[in-house]
């Protein structure tokens, strides 16, 4: 029973709630592991939270400042973002419920070391924020647009791990995305007529880029096979 989710719309910036019902930060970024195998699409392996993770989302001077300052100021000893492996997630809804208590969660330098030593899933780890906003270029070097969102598929979990299985299906690409981000159209916000008019016209003229069409991802640029014209329109997510 597969369910389609749009990562930026439905996962990012959501509240994390621990097993005791306490607030445990926001989903600041997602860790994707790309097995590098053409037949096997990347999976979401962890939720990243904390100022170091947030800084990666903000491609501005403030983001860079935050990345430098956060280890000293807000999360002493943490220059890596706090990492919540996906198997500690219980449900994904308007907020993300975790199976563990917040104080068992947190990653310090110790945890990061453990993570490096123990059971790393083979493949290249990258962050969702590296994909968002990346420029998509077709084989004729024409710019198709920018990545607005990542379409995920929620499947039954793999035998080797617990927690929801989230696989990347493809990318949503387009020129403008403001309306969609606000929830008009994709998010089910039927909204006041006035706002729908204003933001709807800014809504994304999106195309859907299946993962297997990607040739390479490098330095915030994604090269694809084929041209922009043979990219289909996106199907709505299952919210």
């Amino acid at each position: 029973m597969a369910r389609r989710l749009d990562a930026a719309l439905e996962l990012l910036d959501r509240q994390l709630v621990d097993a005791d019902g306490r607030l445990a930060g926001k989903v600041d970024d997602l860790e994707l592991t790309d097995p590098g195998d053409r037949l096997d699409r990347p999976r979401v392996t962890a939720i990243l939270t904390g100022p170091a993770a947030l800084a990666g989302r903000l491609h501005t001077r403030f983001g860079r400042w935050l990345r430098q300052v956060s280890p000293r100021l807000l999360a002493p000893g943490h220059d890596q973002p706090s990492r919540v492996p996906l198997d500690q997630v219980e449900t994904v809804a308007t907020d993300i419920r975790l199976q563990v208590a917040a104080d068992q969660l947190d990653t310090g330098p110790g945890q990061a070391r453990v993570h490096r030593l123990v059971g790393r899933i083979p493949g290249r780890a990258m962050r969702l924020s590296e994909l968002l906003g990346a420029e998509v270029v077709d084989e004729h070097d024409h710019t198709v647009g920018k990545v607005h969102d990542i379409r995920l598929e929620q499947t039954e979990p793999e035998p080797q791990d617990t927690g929801p299985g989230l696989r990347v299906e493809g990318l949503l690409v387009g020129r403008r995305a403001l309306g969609g981000r606000f929830g008009f159209g994709r998010g089910g916000v039927r909204g006041p007529w006035l706002l729908k008019l204003v933001f709807g016209s800014l809504g994304h003229d999106g195309r859907y880029l299946p993962w297997d069409r990607i040739r390479s991802i490098h330095a915030h640029q994604i090269h694809i096979t084929g041209t922009a014209d043979d990219l289909p329109s996106p199907q709505p997510s299952d919210g």
Partner: protein, 410 residues
């Protein structure tokens, strides 16, 4: 019976807690300079805050989430951060103004220099935020703020020409001694004082803290639809009393003492005493609210545990932000910047940032994922949209008007 008492308490605290230093300064000054020519703006502002506060309460009750919490979810990290920066800065400025207001009220009552009161006020605000239970705090200052009813009584006892007053309120005109630019500048300031951004932030966070649910929706509506207009009437009373006493004498108030003169003229020492209690209560209440709101906004953006109801150890970052905000606010007042001036800047900048606060709220209130079947009706959407347009126009006009009218200087 118990439920009825609860509702009554909620309404009374809404009335008493409505006015803050911004309303005090804006209403008194516009009354003294423009008579009742800007009364319509107050009506517009109160109606606006009613609509959006009800929305915020509904969002909090049905989704269990506070508004700022949802702002980041809806708008994303980048835009949410911009919203946070503006909101936090303005709320901090307002906090400083409120602390100044409390100190000024104490100065007026004791003749001791207000600067000496500032550290004490700051400490007490922090202590209450740290230690005192939410409901106790909310109710105490709200009920004490009811002392401002004395100003409404003063209006009645002054036996004004009601017909003439009604006429000048419904036929707004710019007095000969004032420029049109100043008139519109003060209109925006008055709007900013009535629709303060922190109000929505505090209201929704408070609702979540007290674990309002769908069954509390009716109480929420009663609080807002009865409490807020009556509170607005108190602000209007301040304007009227200034129009009756200060305007004919050409007194342009720049001190809290001048705001109290009309009430003492009509009602004597008792009236003055109650007015002073009212000034003290409404500014302290607002100081508490703005301090907590600084904490709420930052904690809700980053997803940290927040709330007065949590033990401080469970929400350390939240409490730290509250402490830091109070320190910064008190520090700002201690630079001897005139608190009344500070208030004017706070309300004008609030007006400029209003769309940033209310647009996300309007979007969230239309999202069935959070509100289910309690999303906005077409009517409330229509009215709220009209307001949003007005707020955008006002926001864009704020800085140019401030420059052109030299901040409303006469």
């Amino acid at each position: 019976m118990r439920k009825l008492l609860e509702i009554a308490l909620g309404i009374l605290t809404a009335i008493g807690g409505f006015v803050d230093i911004g309303d005090l300064v804006a209403s008194t000054e516009t009354g003294a300079r423009f008579g009742l020519g800007l009364a319509w703006v107050l009506v517009v502002g109160v109606l606006g805050i009613m609509i959006y506060a009800e929305m915020a309460g509904r969002v909090a009750s049905t989704s269990g989430r506070a508004v700022f919490d949802l702002v980041r979810e809806r708008l994303g990290a980048g835009v949410g951060l911009l919203n946070l920066a503006a909101s936090f800065f303005i709320t901090l400025l307002t906090l400083a103004a409120e602390i100044g207001g409390v100190a000024l009220s104490l100065q007026l009552a004791t003749s001791v220099n207000y600067l000496l009161f500032v550290p004490i006020v700051g400490f007490l605000v922090w202590l209450v935020c740290w230690r005192v239970r939410f409901e106790v705090m909310d109710n105490a200052v709200g009920l004490l703020g009811l002392a401002l009813i004395v100003v409404a009584v003063a209006v009645w006892r002054a036996h004004p020409d009601w017909g003439a007053m009604w006429h000048s309120a419904t036929h707004p005109a710019v007095p000969a001694t004032e420029s049109h630019l100043a008139y519109w500048y003060f209109a925006i300031a008055l709007l900013g004082s009535a629709m303060t951004p922190y109000e929505v932030l505090f209201f929704s966070s408070g609702a979540v803290e007290q674990r309002w649910t769908r069954s509390d929706l009716l109480v929420n509506r009663l609080n807002v639809y009865i409490g807020f207009p009556l509170g607005g009437l108190l602000a209007l009373a301040l304007m009227v009393v200034a129009a009756l006493v200060l305007e004919p004498r050409g007194i342009d108030p720049s001190h809290l003492s001048q705001a109290a003169l009309p009430t003492s003229l009509v009602l004597g020492k008792l009236g003055l005493a109650l007015a002073l209690v009212g000034f003290f209560a409404c500014t302290s209440g607002a100081a508490l609210e703005t301090a907590l709101s600084c904490g709420y906004s930052l904690a809700q953006y980053f997803g940290w545990p927040w709330g007065k109801l949590l033990k401080p150890a469970q929400a350390p970052r939240f409490q730290l932000v509250v402490l830091a905000s109070i320190t910064l606010g008190a520090g700002l007042v201690l630079t001897t910047l005139d608190p009344i001036q500070l208030t004017e800047y706070a309300i004008v900048l609030s007006a400029a940032a209003l769309p940033l606060t209310y647009l996300p709220l309007l979007i969230v209130a239309n999202d069935p994922a959070y509100l289910g079947d309690k999303v906005n009706s077409r009517l409330s959407n229509a009215i709220a949209s009209v307001y949003l347009v007005v707020l955008v126009v006002a926001s864009v006009a704020t800085i140019p008007l401030m420059i052109l009218s030299k901040a409303g200087g006469s």
